[in-house]
């Protein structure tokens, strides 16, 4: 199952079927998340990753040219950097608790309290919702503000000035 995702990623090196492959990748990621018990996150990934971001990417491709230039740059250095980083990270993960164990540190902190008290304190059985909107309300308020800001930014960038080409003088000349 995880291997399928990996293969999809390797395939993504192709030119501009990339967007379609990204969609498939998002759906696969959503199924992986379901297997990992994160149903809320999987739902978000399926609707956001496979839905909206595909639409926005396609809209962008409509605005710019759709063929990628072959790069003449050396590919060796990025590969070395990526593999080096990866090796370091693998070495680092060996100290983490094994996958799926119940006595890992993460399950000893606030998590169990949220799970045991959510019905008593908020009356909401879905712990994800209660943590999202209640216990960690500040976080979510911040995230909402970030989305708000991003929306304003996109509208400023794309709607403020109609397309005038390069008739404007000065500007980026110096």
């Amino acid at each position: 199952m995880l291997a399928v995702v990996t293969v999809a990623i390797v395939l993504q090196r192709h030119l501009f079927g990339v967007v379609v492959l990204t969609t498939i990748y998002s759906f696969l990621m959503a199924s992986v998340l379901i297997v990992l018990d994160a149903v809320d996150v999987a739902m978000t990934e399926a609707s956001v990753g496979a839905g909206i971001s595909t639409v926005i990417l396609l809209a962008t491709l409509h605005l710019i040219s759709t063929t990628e230039m072959r790069s003449f740059r050396t590919k060796v250095l990025p590969l070395v950097v990526a593999i080096g980083t990866g090796a370091l990270l693998v070495w680092g993960t060996l100290a983490l608790p094994p996958f799926g164990t119940a006595d890992a540190i993460i399950h000893k902190h606030v998590g169990p309290r949220y799970l045991s008290d959510t019905i008593k304190e908020t009356g909401v059985p879905n712990a994800v919702t209660s943590v999202l909107a209640d216990y960690r309300g500040y976080d979510t308020l911040g995230e909402t503000t970030v989305i708000f800001t991003a929306g304003i930014g996109v509208m400023l960038l794309l709607r403020g000035m109609r397309r005038r080409g390069r008739t404007e003088e000065g500007g980026d000349g110096q």
């Binding site: 809320d40 978000t44 304190e121 909107a133 989305i147 509208m155």
Partner: protein, 138 residues
């Protein structure tokens, strides 16, 4: 715009159900997977489908640009207003326990309001972003 009859009728048929599903995801988020973020994205998906099938004008008749733009700050204000309400009623910011007659109900109400704020902001932002890209392309 006389594209494909089946496509247009099919879209018309399916649109209300997508909206209904978005609302289900929103209000059932307390008991199953779902919540404001997902419902907002699904709602904006309705506008995307409408634009793809019927064109931008039809979509903007249903979800006018001005409404969408006002939704973005409105959602943040609903969220922050819920927090301030707690503050005014004598508790901490975003402490919902004073909103109702007993604490559990108050928390449920607080969560509901906050999720509604998230829904409005996310739906508005995603739709506005989509409109911005589409309008740029014309």
């Amino acid at each position: 715009m006389s594209l494909d009859l089946i496509l247009r009728i099919g879209t018309k048929l399916i649109l209300p159900f997508i909206l209904l599903f978005a609302l289900y995801v929103q209000f059932h988020g307390d008991y199953g997977p779902g919540g404001g973020f997902q419902a907002g994205v699904i709602t904006s998906g309705v506008v995307v489908l409408l634009t793809i099938t019927f064109g931008l004008e039809a979509a903007q008749r249903m979800a006018p640009q001005a409404v969408v733009q006002r939704m973005i700050p409105l959602g943040v204000l609903i969220y922050a207003g819920t927090g301030v309400a707690g503050l005014l009623l004598g508790k901490n910011f975003l402490d919902y326990s004073v909103l109702g007659h007993d604490a559990v109900h108050a928390h449920e109400l607080g969560i509901f309001l906050v999720e509604a704020g998230v829904l409005v902001t996310v739906a508005g932002t995603m739709t506005a972003i989509f409109y911005a890209f589409v309008e740029r392309g014309r």
